[in-house]
């Protein structure tokens, strides 16, 4: 099975504007900026969380802390896979208890990653709220989960894949729809 690029749906400017808008929405909904913390879901949620925290700093002159979450140990599909996925480090160097946690990921799809991330965050403490921010919501949820902040809603077919490419990881800032070809 190969993947074929179909369309570029966001370029660098579009990503920047989307993140800026999300940051404003977060600031609007969370008046107590001091209580905000950002947690990025590995891998591409992490640079997005960093960028959102930097945007918050521009708006509010205060930079919220940013943590890194690895959800491997919380996956619900471990027993269906023959291989054990690599466990990477979770690094949340602050308490989440009582905080307003902004959980950040690149794409929201089935909701299973978000479900695992919710469990993983709650195991670190009891936050006041957990809010979900994603760059792309592509639909096809398998669990009752929704995002609080969405960069772009993209209707997709299940044969398609959303590829978010970020400078920190991939060298460019772009979002593509690619299609599986047999």
């Amino acid at each position: 099975m190969a993947l074929q690029e179909k369309a570029r749906i966001m370029d660098e400017d579009a990503i920047r504007r989307a993140l800026s808008r999300i940051a404003h929405e977060i600031a609007e909904r969370n008046l107590d900026v001091d209580n905000l913390v950002f947690i990025g879901i590995r891998r591409r949620g992490v640079p997005l969380a960093e960028r959102l925290a930097a945007e918050i700093q521009r708006i509010e002159q205060k930079k919220p802390p940013v943590g890194v979450l690895d959800i491997t140990l919380y996956r619900d599909d471990l027993t269906t896979k023959h291989d054990t996925p690599m466990v990477h480090k979770t690094d949340v160097p602050f308490t989440v208890a009582g905080k307003d946690v902004i959980l950040v990921d690149d794409v929201l799809y089935t909701g299973r990653t978000a479900r695992a991330a919710l469990d993983a965050v709650i195991d670190l403490g009891r936050p006041r709220t957990i809010q979900l921010a994603v760059l792309v919501d592509r639909g096809h949820r398998e669990l009752p989960i929704r995002a609080d902040y969405v960069g772009k809603n993209v209707p997709t077919s299940q044969r398609e894949v959303i590829e978010v490419r970020l400078a920190e990881v991939d060298g460019v800032n772009e979002v593509w729809i690619v299609e599986k070809t047999d």
Binding site: L73, L78, T80, H82, T84, M86, H88, A120
Partner: protein, 310 residues
């Protein structure tokens, strides 16, 4: 089979384990360590799996470490001590293990005084078998946690000079360290009284010293072995006091070594025999850290053996 999977059912020894496998275990342990530091030390990963610790020899650290590692990953644990089990009624090792296996145990952790006991079990059980020390053969998880501790402090294993001091002859810890460290590209030396060095130990590819002061001058790391008083029945050394004089890690010896020499000891310590309290509790010793790292290393192994599907 991906690069993230151990290509084996059991962990019986570090002899023959590849550099890639050891690296995978150590890297996974680095991620697990964070969980040990949490307020809520529990992740759901191995929910519904069960781990039996079957110990035919006494243990404090290793057994608690395996049990906590399993519990932190949400596996259920069961422990059998031979003193209080049907072993006293003459049940064989294999019968004991088979009976436990049909109750649904996924992994058996075994310590036994006979070298090869874990290999024997592994051949007969479908469950994963982890060797927690077999006679004078190997203690692989100790070797791994020692390497993990060294790597954490010095950033690498390749090219480091690691000295193992003491009763090499009776030490399964020494053997696992030697196999693992050589595979990882470290340079390994051993030092101890001639009566406590295995014959032809140099053929393993290690340097052999019979003078501790000389050996220490060429070391980045020293792993001080426990003098196994319970295995000494043949007068292999004169007295604990004499042993300390020639082979004990003392403050004077430490001062004459390189300034940031890292000091390890697998425990339990005979204070004042192979290591003095001043050294054991001093800034260069990482002995308690080894114990903590042991939990992370065992979590990594349990995850890598049981984390995937069948």
């Amino acid at each position: 089979m991906s690069e993230h999977t151990l290509a084996r059912k059991d962990i019986l020894g570090l002899r023959g384990m590849s550099r890639e496998e050891i690296t995978l275990i150590l890297d996974t342990a680095a991620s697990m360590l964070e969980i040990v530091d949490r307020d809520i030390k529990k992740v759901p990963t191995l929910r519904g799996k069960s781990v039996l610790t079957l110990f035919y020899e006494p243990s404090t650290r290793t057994r608690s470490s395996f049990e906590l590692a399993a519990k932190y990953l949400s596996a259920d644990t069961l422990s059998i001590s031979t003193q209080t089990s049907s072993v006293q009624k003459g049940e064989t090792l294999l019968d004991t293990a088979r009976n436990i296996e049909v109750m649904g145990v996924d992994t058996v952790v075994i310590r036994h005084s006979a070298s090869g006991a874990s290999h024997f079990l592994a051949r007969h059980l479908k469950a994963h078998v982890i060797n927690a020390g077999d006679g004078m053969n190997e203690h692989p998880t100790q070797g791994l946690l020692d390497m993990f501790t060294i790597r954490t402090h010095l950033g690498r294993l390749e090219g480091l000079r690691v000295l193992i001091v003491g009763d090499i002859l009776h030490s399964r810890v020494a053997r696992s360290n030697i196999w693992g460290l050589l595979t990882m590209g470290a340079r390994v030396a051993v030092a101890g009284p001639a009566t406590l060095l295995p014959p032809r130990v140099a053929e393993l590819g290690v340097d052999v010293y019979t003078d501790l002061d000389l050996a220490l001058r060429h070391a980045d790391v020293v792993n001080v072995l426990r003098l196994q008083l319970e295995r000494q029945k043949k007068g292999l050394f004169a007295s604990a006091r004499e042993y300390n004089e020639f082979w004990g890690l003392t403050p004077e010896r430490l001062r004459a070594s390189q300034p940031d020499l890292l000091v390890l000891h697998p425990g339990p310590m005979n204070r004042g025999v192979e290591i003095t309290s001043e050294v054991a509790d001093g800034p260069q010793a990482v002995i308690l850290e080894q114990v903590k790292n042991g939990v992370a290393v065992r979590m990594a192994i349990l995850y890598l053996l049981m984390g995937g599907g069948e």
